[in-house]
Assembly symmetry: C2
Homo-oligomer: 394 residues x 2
């Protein structure tokens, strides 16, 4: 009756990609340890990344793209696991708002994830075994610190822009806080300066679903030759509901039945929404590592910029020289507009350059990944005016 057949033992495409990424990979050896917020260091580690376009001569046209919880470095090129187009192909490419004919775009798989960067499925060289839960718990600032090392490695001093949505938006904000003079423009989208109680709650449900799966084996499923796919599928289903909106669900699915003209009086998927969610759960487990899901949700839960600055969010942006454009979506209940507004207020308190757009849409949190003309237009407008200000216009 469960949507996931058991047992699952064969290596998925996703697991293979984690082990042997198709991307470029930047290795950081023992001489370049990463200092972590938890007090430990990570060394060695590596980041798998993609680039699009060409870095110009004075290295002033680089845009760093931060991906969301289950995203990856394939922002604008086909994903080798799913075969799908890059997740932000609407926004990034030749002639697009983030025009790869003009900008050099960098996107790395975040630390702790599973598309080729160091994460819980990576080998711990001290033991020769997968890290699993022996990997230190990571934070958004840790991820961004690693990204800055990659940007250093690429010889780039100041980024023209940093952009990201959801967890990517958290990284984007963190970039401007941690490196106030290295980010010319920032676009934090559908995000906030901290994770709310309700968001922590949904993440905890997902983690418990994973950890309740006996195939999780306390995190050591790789050694056991199992995968907690059932638990991870449930986690994904729960999370997926929060990415949409009631209005979008009503419009897309309503109470429509799936492949039947009357109720089945059983526990198969009667309704289209059930079938859709099951599909989301089933396909997710092929491309995502369960422990990575635990680590990345934890990083989001821990995120709280104000807490790191004496409880005052404005204090975090005191040194900022960045020009900001914040975007929220009216029906996003995971990161409602008030979360963006709180950041705008903190920036205003520092007389920072900030514009703020709330996009009217019923598509919920997911809207930042969709072809929403008003959103795409807002990004295009901001990027182009920032490029002008930066002297990047041909």
């Amino acid at each position: 009756m469960s949507i996931i057949a058991d047992p699952v033992t064969e290596e998925t495409l996703g697991a293979r990609e984690a082990r042997q990424p198709s991307s470029k990979v930047a290795y950081f050896g023992p001489d370049e340890p990463l200092r972590l917020d938890g007090g430990r260091t990570l060394s060695p580690f590596h980041l798998a990344y993609e680039t699009y376009g060409e870095l110009n001569a004075d290295k002033s046209n680089a845009i760093y793209v931060c991906h969301a919880l289950t995203g990856d470095q394939y922002a604008a090129s086909p994903n080798p696991v799913t075969g799908k187009a890059g997740w932000w192909s609407t926004l990034i490419g030749p002639g697009k708002p983030i025009d790869t004919d003009r900008f050099f775009v960098v996107c790395a798989n975040v630390l702790g994830s599973c598309m080729g960067s160091t994460g819980p499925a990576s080998t711990d060289f001290e033991t020769g075994m997968p890290y699993a839960l022996a990997l230190p718990v990571l934070t958004i600032p840790d991820m961004v610190r690693a990204q800055a090392m990659l940007i250093d490695r690429l010889g780039i001093d100041t980024l023209f822009a940093v952009i990201g949505g959801s967890m990517g938006g958290m990284q984007c904000l963190q970039w401007t806080v941690a490196y106030p003079s290295r980010v010319f423009a920032a676009l934090p989208i559908a995000t906030g300066a901290r994770h709310s109680s309700q968001n922590i709650a949904f993440h905890e449900v997902g983690r418990q679903a994973v950890m309740a799966d006996p195939d999780w084996h306390g995190g050591d499923y790789i050694q056991h030759g199992t995968r907690p796919h059932k638990g991870l599928a449930v986690a994904r289903m729960a999370a997926h509901v929060t990415y949409l909106s009631e209005a979008a669900l009503q419009r897309k699915f309503g109470r429509n039945l799936q492949d039947r003209d009357k109720l089945g009086f059983g526990f198969d998927a009667d309704f289209q929404i059930e079938s859709y969610l099951r599909h989301q759960g089933m396909t997710f487990v092929d491309r995502f590592d369960a422990n990575a899901y635990l680590y990345l949700t934890r990083a989001m839960d821990y995120f709280d910029i104000a807490a790191e600055h004496g409880g005052r969010l404005a204090e975090a942006f005191r040194q900022t020289k960045t020009r900001f454009c914040l975007v929220s979506f009216s029906s996003d209940w995971l990161f409602p507009t008030e979360e963006s507004r709180a950041v705008v207020h903190a920036l205003n308190a520092n007389a920072a350059s900030v514009s703020f757009v709330e996009i009217e849409t019923d598509k919920g949190h997911d809207a930042f990944l969709l072809d929403e003309p008003e959103f795409i237009g807002a990004v295009a407008g901001f990027v182009s005016s920032a490029a002008k200000a930066r002297g990047l216009v041909r």
Copy 2:
């Protein structure tokens, strides 16, 4: 790491109560089969119920109380499993808005549940084994049809009132639709005339969590001597988030840490909200049957009054003589005010007697179970004026 220790084999207090209820029990034998919406009949079956107060001579003072998804018949008396006060003690008792010195209150455990009424954990007399998934899938109208048989058995023709919140509100509405001349007054609270796509989605997540637990054994866990407690705990955690509101979570828990003064950098419960949710999951499994959870969530998903009336909700209430008071809560995102308003419009289209109160509160869906003075006052006022209209005032 999971919040539920394994293996769980001993009979819980809840399971014992399902088998041998402390309540009064009404048995309906082979001569009184229950016709089910799915096309089958259920026979024999039984309902465990509680009563409070005395039925008056002309049997005109009976109030039927419908409980919610995980509620039970102990509306106004201590629950034998949890030892806690009745779940609606705020509302029902001597001198309370539903005054048991004046009214005869009946509350039965719904069909399909696990506090002594026939449900999936009950014995199927044809096989001598627990029904498990062999129990026909039940609907809200099925539950109400069984309740009407209980009311017949008690010799009551017309109920003075029917009241219920959430799934109880669905039953309350169904009572007025199925028995338009047997309900003098109705109080459907925090409910709707159909289950929304988003609500079906959350229920499906919970069901998948249960069914993903290997201890579920395709529903036959009783024979296997196991219980899918881990899956059921996850289902409860996911559902519990939807019973609250973001504002309530922020106010009660915020990002406060639990029993620690800094982040733990691990996967234990760092935040109070995590600890709270884990507690909700852990305690629920002691009192609730996993298959009953599947059956009752399914019944709610199937509920759609309009669909049974050619898609026109107003048509369902064409014959109504009942006076209605609908109550919604401003921060309830499971059954938002619009769902109540749709019922009010349908009643207005029939020139029915209807009042409607939206209670301003940040406590979310759960508010109907809490001591919300404005809500309690609204119920008291409506019940007392209905009693006057019914000639029940001493």
